[in-house]
Amino acid sequence: MGVLRLENVYKDFSGLEVLCGISLEIRRGERHAIIGPNGAGKSTVFNVITGFYKPSRGRIFFLDQDITGWPIHKIARLGISRSFQITSLFPKMTVFENLRNAVVSKLNHRFNWTTLLNRSREVQRECERVIESLRLTSVRDVPACELSYGWQRRLELSLTLALDPFVILLDEPTAGIDVKETRSFVEFMKETTEGKTLVMVEHDMDVVFDIADRVTVLNNGKVLVTGTIHEIRENEEVQKAYAGRK
């Protein structure tokens, strides 16, 4: 069954068509990679799903509920959580405080002004659990801006996961991580997202082939093909699109 469904989605920026009729279905529990050459519209797909952009045309459904045009925070509260290609953390806050922001939101304490944050056992306990399960204990009290890049990427991913999302959207999770670290990062990703529905945009084909069950190839704002890894590898159009780029 489709968890997330895009029906004929268009997005143009003052005349420049970035998405031209994208239809896409993400199945429950699958690991779906979106690949394609630069400028194919991969990140824009994420941005229309999460409400950052309103699609010019077309509809987006989450569990058969039409979420087209909803604001970002409402979509996030449904359980669709994303990470960013360019690390987007709360820089002056510690790792603990970063994750606490996610936990406070998850527990629906966002508007609570009658209790003190550090007196709330519920929040405190959940934060400790999250930190432990995401293995961030060693950097718990380090401000996010002082972390090494590799740790920042981990925290970026962890912030997304700390919401216990239903669908996880990862925008180039391994961007900028050096080859040596990528291996362990991918392991970390696999473990922490186990059993969840995962959609990711990724450039690194090794990572895609390692993680994904199914792949969608985008080119010039259109879906070229969707299929299993094997099908994609054999597909001539895909080979042409990638070869044509070079």
Binding site: T50, P71, I72, H73, A76, R77, S81, R82, F84, S88, L89, F90, P91, K92, M93, R100, N101, A102, V104, S105, K106, H109, R110, F111, N112, W113, T114, T115, L116, L117, N118, S120, V123, L159, L163
Partner: protein, 324 residues
Amino acid sequence: MRGLRLDTLGRGIAIILLLLLPQFLPLIYIHLATEILIYALFAVSFNLLFGYGGLLPFGHVALFGVGAYVAALIFKHFPGMYLPLTLLLTALSGVPIAAIIGFFCLRLKGAYFALISLAFQMFLYAIAMKWRSLAYGDDGMTVNRPDLYLPVLGNLSMRSIENVYYLTLVIVAIGILACYLFLKTPLGNSFVCMRERDIRASYLGYDVFLTRFTVFSASGILAALAGGLFVFFEEFVATSCIDLNMGISVVFMTVIGGPGHYLGPVLGAAFYIFFQDWISSLTKHWWVFMGIVFVGVVLYFEGGLVSLFTNGKVRLWASRLKGG
């Protein structure tokens, strides 16, 4: 642990000093201290938005002015009203005005936010200036301080500056404490995390506009209360309570004192008033010198006066004590 105790000790001494101040200071300095407290409350309100929220409400003085005029009108037309009730109404009068201003400003970011906020201040300034039958323009109006009746203490005469000082001290202390505690609640934390990265906050499920709107409106309470206390203290209101000079001085106080620290604006207000008092006795061009201080702080002393206590040597020293 010793560092922590030192901190508590410092605060204890400060409180005792503030309480005993009128006993050993000459009258003129009690006046000055009262003025500082009132400005401090105003600056705390500004700092909530600027230091903690990353918003620059350039026209924040609009709310101070609204409080000042509301208090003045109550003092003038309902002289018998119970003083705490007057101050409560004054404080609450800031909320709807802040809500209206915030509703429009908070859709914008950065410089545009600051400018639209300034436009509202100009608009209210124009009303205060032109609506002479109500506000008496730049002639202003004189009001009388009502006395305060308290259950156990009896009737406290507000002709006595000591009593005015103590009343102000209590109210301002409550205001600052409320602000301090608010920032430790989940809602306060939500507001701060939006300063850090508002887009990420939305992706975590925070409604950025609604949160900022709520805090912005609430900040009107403190600003208007400060305005009301100002009129109570000065026994006079005029357009100077809502003009640009007043608006700039709160920015100066907060930046010089240290935005983003709950005591920064208090130190800033103290420095500003003392410095103004001292330098204006030497030259009438005191603004020039204040400007130089401001530029100096912005360029070379980010973090303001309060960072003297929280950063660098003092902090190092404190942490060494903490370490044993």
